[in-house]
């Protein structure tokens, strides 16, 4: 059955191979060219200068490379869902559309074996291509260091989605879910669209739940008028105020107090803002963040969710195949 699955997906697999070679070679070449530019920056590459001749040279370096690096990250981020849509979704749906599944079902091949061999032949090459391209992109982005997207920290959406276990977990989910959607919908296009929408929705939901996945860190400032300082790389979750009893007051709930202390109609501030906030019961301000050091655990937590959903998809697919002829 492996041979049959291979023969059916041959054209796609050749395309994947071309993509792998071309993509990897392009990233190697670009990386080499970027490193020449980096060497040209000399001492400016490591300095975080805010003035002087380095500023213009660094910004011209960023002008030519930042967007490309970002694009490489974005490519690794979207590759799993593209593979899910174009390789996995039609895997079973196309056979159901053409009636060719009956060929396998009525030969001496079990449906589960048929499904698993198709999945394996699609998944293994996709995984190899993704891992290789991820490695290429990550090493390129790493080479740029703080002059590239890494400057925005690990939670920057393209950086987060293209590093660590994230791409692999996305891929496993998109492949398993895509194939299952195809078996349920019995239409390739419907399955492709469902895969795309489901992935985007899940990714957005999980992206906004980083705090829940890895736990947040609370930073407190004794001055209610000033936000506690945090590393720029951390991911913002929530901010607000604390009253004398240490209870949270959200920014929305604190609006009356804030406006009572605020300037009105261009009139100068009535005295000390900090004292005014305190008088109105806003004793401290807090900031909840996911620290950048927690990025790895967020990755693993998110990967666990995607992996569980991927694993759950397969029995659903099997059930769909056994349900109808």
């Amino acid at each position: 059955m492996i041979w049959v699955a291979w023969r059916q997906q041959r054209a796609q697999l050749i395309f994947l191979l071309v993509l792998l070679v071309a993509g990897y070679a392009a990233m190697l070449l670009l990386r080499g060219s970027m490193q020449t530019d980096l060497a040209g920056l000399g001492g400016c590459a490591t300095e975080s200068a805010v003035s002087g001749p380095c500023v213009t040279r660094v910004s011209s370096f960023k002008d030519s490379w930042y967007d490309l690096l970002k694009a490489a990250e974005a490519f690794v981020l979207v590759l799993p869902v593209l593979l899910g849509m174009f390789c996995a979704a039609p895997l079973i749906a196309k056979e159901l559309e053409h009636g060719t599944h009956l060929l396998a079902f009525t030969q001496s091949v079990g449906r589960t074996r048929w499904m698993l061999s198709k999945f394996a032949v699609a998944a293994v090459p996709a995984l190899v291509v993704l891992l290789a391209l991820q490695q290429g992109a990550v090493s390129w982005v790493d080479a740029a260091g703080r002059l590239g997207p890494l400057d925005s920290g690990p939670f920057e959406w393209t950086t987060f989605g293209s590093s660590g276990v994230a791409p692999v977990s996305y891929l496993l989910f998109c492949l398993a879910f895509g194939m299952t959607a195809g078996a349920l919908a019995r239409r390739s296009l419907v399955a492709m669209f469902t895969t795309l929408v489901t992935f985007v929705v899940l990714r957005v939901l999980l992206g906004s739940a980083h705090g829940m996945l890895a736990g947040t860190q609370r930073l407190v400032s004794d001055d209610p008028a000033k936000s506690p300082g945090s590393e720029t790389a951390a991911q913002y979750v929530e901010s607000g105020y604390l009253n004398a009893q240490g209870q949270e007051i959200t920014v929305e709930a604190a609006q009356p107090q804030i406006s009572a202390c605020g300037s009105r109609g261009g009139a100068p501030l009535a005295g000390d803002l900090t004292a005014c906030y305190r008088d109105h019961g806003l004793v401290k301000s807090y900031l909840d963040v996911v620290p950048s050091s927690a990025a790895a655990s967020v990755h693993w937590a998110e990967a666990a969710v995607f992996a569980v959903l991927a694993v759950l998809s397969l029995p659903v697919c099997r059930w769909a195949l056994h349900r109808r002829p």
């Binding site: 059955m1 041979w3 049959v4 009636g99 060719t100 079902f105 030969q107 001496s108 091949v109 002829p325």
Partner: protein, 302 residues
């Protein structure tokens, strides 16, 4: 109104029936597609599965292959209940529309059969390609309908099945191709003892080759049995347009008034007719089937 013959001495000599159905039924959301189907098909027969569109032929074949699960009753094929999970290599099925992988070459398609089956006879499969003059290197997608049937038959019969089920295999073939396909199937049956079941909504094309008939209409079996016995059990009476009919009404399967007179299909077969105004002759298979189909139609309409 089910007529069944061929369950007597025929089965005894042929041994275990290849297909045995008892009150078999299948229900979809829109209603029963097949109901109360009881029949047996002895081994080595060329079986015509006939009925109008929507008669339940494809459902019946689906139940035999195990692709569908019975909603009522039971069915045994080659002595076992068919299971969709573990298809029986002794049974081959060619579904409607003759699905093949369009991007495969003919050679690849045979290799599929080889890799998917423990019992595969490459030489036997290639015979069918040779009969249809199908080039082995051609892509399936580029073949004509007349060539595709030979590839489909090669895949279905390359496994050397004991029973082959063909759903509308002759649809979209020209008359010459139909004849040569039927000849190939007849030869397969003769040489290898394969039981061949082929469905069609056109009876005429099966008349010459089939020795066993299963007639379905509106989800029920109307007629099932050995063709010769069925023909011997019926006769066609022709007589005047008006006046009494010479047989009891319960014997009449179907009555048709033509410009010349009345034609009756009656069962049982020939008996001495007292009335000289009536003549009887044996029915053709087409007359027999049409008579039962018409009566089924009236029954449904009533």
């Amino acid at each position: 109104m089910t007529k069944e013959t061929g369950t007597g001495d025929m089965t005894m000599t042929d041994g275990q029936p290849v297909v045995l159905a008892e009150r078999l039924g299948k229900r979809y959301r829109r209603g029963w597609a097949l109901r109360d189907c009881s029949l047996r098909v002895p081994a080595g027969r060329m079986v015509g599965l006939v009925g109008p569109n929507g008669a339940g032929k494809s459902t019946f074949l689906g139940l035999l292959t195990g692709l569908l699960r019975p909603g009522a009753g039971r069915v045994e094929v080659c002595g076992t209940e068919p299971s969709g999970r573990h298809p029986d290599p002794r049974i081959s099925f060619l579904s409607q529309g003759k699905p093949l992988y369009p991007q495969f070459t003919v050679e690849d398609q045979l290799r599929f059969g080889r890799s998917a089956n423990p019992t595969w006879d490459q030489a036997h499969a290639e015979e069918f390609l040779a009969r249809g003059h199908v080039p082995a290197g051609a892509r399936i997608g580029t073949l004509s309908g007349g060539q595709r049937i030979w590839v489909a038959l090669a895949v279905a019969l390359g496994t050397r099945p004991r029973l082959v089920l063909l759903d509308e295999p002759l649809a979209d073939l020209d008359p010459v191709a139909r004849r040569s396909v039927l000849a190939a199937l007849a030869q397969q049956r003769q040489r290898h003892g394969t039981t061949v079941v082929l469905s069609s909504h056109v009876l005429a094309e099966l008349e010459e080759v089939c020795d066993h008939l299963l007639l379905f209409a509106a989800g029920r079996v109307r007629l099932a049995g050995d063709v010769r016995e069925l023909l011997a059990g019926h006769s066609v009476l022709s007589g005047p347009r008006t006046g009494p009919i010479p047989v009891p009404a319960r014997c009449v399967v179907d009555a048709a008034k033509t410009g010349h007179g009345t034609q009756l299909l009656v069962s049982p077969g020939p008996a001495a007719l007292a009335d000289p105004a009536w003549r009887h002759r044996p029915p053709t298979l087409t007359q027999l089937a049409l008579g039962y189909l018409r009566s089924a139609h009236q029954e449904v309409a009533a």
